[in-house]
Symmetry: C2
Subunit: 353 residues, 2 copies
Amino acid sequence: MADGFSPGGACPIPLSDYPRVSLAHGGGGRLMQQLIRRMLAPAFAGSVAEAQHDGARLPPLIGTPVMTTDSYVIRPRFFPGGDIGSLAVQGTVNDLAMCGAQPLYLTLGLILEEGLPMDELWRIVQSIHGAATAAGVQIVSGDTKVVEQGQADGIYINTAGMGAVPEGLRVHPDRVAPGDRILVSGDIGRHGIAVLSQREQLGFETTLASDCAALHTLVQALLTAAPDTHCLRDCTRGGLGAALIEIGEAAAMELHVEEGGVPVSPPVSAACELLGLEPLFVACEGRLVAFVPEVQAEAALAALRAHPLGEGATAIGHVAPPTAHGARVVMHSPYGTSRLLDLPSGEQLPRIC
Amino acid sequence: MADGFSPGGACPIPLSDYPRVSLAHGGGGRLMQQLIRRMLAPAFAGSVAEAQHDGARLPPLIGTPVMTTDSYVIRPRFFPGGDIGSLAVQGTVNDLAMCGAQPLYLTLGLILEEGLPMDELWRIVQSIHGAATAAGVQIVSGDTKVVEQGQADGIYINTAGMGAVPEGLRVHPDRVAPGDRILVSGDIGRHGIAVLSQREQLGFETTLASDCAALHTLVQALLTAAPDTHCLRDCTRGGLGAALIEIGEAAAMELHVEEGGVPVSPPVSAACELLGLEPLFVACEGRLVAFVPEVQAEAALAALRAHPLGEGATAIGHVAPPTAHGARVVMHSPYGTSRLLDLPSGEQLPRIC
């Protein structure tokens, strides 16, 4: 049924006839069929999914099934280092990886705005294809809706992910224990600042690229070197700070973090100062925080640093038993003072993912 | 972590403080945490999913895993017979059921518009809870985004579904064979007309309710009576007409349908006449079409009619081998004439699901 797919090729929908997405492209009629058959189905063909059906039959899963979902509403949809398509694949792949799962399958829900340039949709579809191929996941089921002009800001994407955790492995906040070392895989906040600078035309002299990346191979390397890793979390919305607070609360532990040890690149640091942002709470899309028993911490750090996505990995703190104050995150400054980390209550950076 | 959930209870977010959803409710900070902990997590607690983690670990699946996704952008979000929340559960449950799968798990992606009344969100969450409980599926993973006022028309919802097909069962368009009887489970078009009349304030004298419903128990009854059922499809976007055309093309068969035999209720018929709509292409959300070998067709029809959701089931046609014209759907009128059914090329009814 589906024509061939050539990444980098011309848009398979004739742009002279359909320069923009119209409501009829989501209406269940001939135009929707054309969009699916010419653009979407070929891009995601060759998968285990059976075409022309409401759902995809999958091969038996080996290991513990894991399921996750994320919607992506990032603005702008193209940014230095990625776009909403690659991000929608990598973000959900990362959620699976943080459970210790091998990412296997994604579903793809597109909500398109009437008037979205057809060639932008084509670029995004190619980007989804490329990111999924690179991450070794298959897009097994999809859905396309079109809403009226003025809504959906061009495109929103939902991906749900399915993966499998090898037998015996359990990576979870409730495993975090006193003595665990807290490792971060690289400098933080690049994604948030890259998106913000693009959006607000801040005109920074250097173009900072987002850190967005699929982290499953980094996680594999880490788990090979430190198989007793207790917990993993990607530092997305809310940044490293929110990840630390959430894990501390879920584990009911007190976390101690050396603030001077948290890696922040000079451009991110400068931009945060200019904008009054706290780097700890600026989103990353290619950084993780790991909680590893002390005995395996050195091996874990070496494994992270040996991987291209973890070159800047650093130990930033450790876990202590909870005090009478309950779960909390204590930040220690280089000057010997300390403060408690608290979630920001307002809106820091909307539409960052 | 999560407070208790009381369906029908007061909104767990204090409306005096937060009468409407704000951008900060999706910002990764304290307000988002509150929304998740007080409203969303309790509503979907008690599931197999582990809380406080990026993904949900699931029990081993027995049978062939099936995965599907759908986004829901219906306007208005409350309509006679349902709302966007119940629809988002039932629609995806139905996609799983049409594969012959037992629906098991859903993920839930919410895209909220800044300014959405908090109590409307609460009503929708309760509705999701109720529909999922009734259908016996668990919400295992969720995500919430908030976009600026003027976008997302209040709320968009994505659900992805996971189910399992019993061993030996395969319900698929490529099994459709000459001689198959074509059955429809009830009168068509109620959902589309109910939504449209609500939206356009058409002021029909009678309030027509949507047919939306979870069809998995109807499918179970059908498959028990007619275990060799070849193909199933719910008649959603594009209605019965699009379902017939798509299955005909996927199966490469010629379908013959007695137009006079297709059940259409008087109010739907009258509304379609008034609006210039073709009932065959008006969406249902609680009707299916089944392709059953002739030898099991009578048992299938009896099983459908014995179920509350299939009381109006009817045989409407049969499958013939393809001719030189290829796959097509031939509609036979009561007057002995015939015509070919073709997908509408324009937009019939946007935002119907």
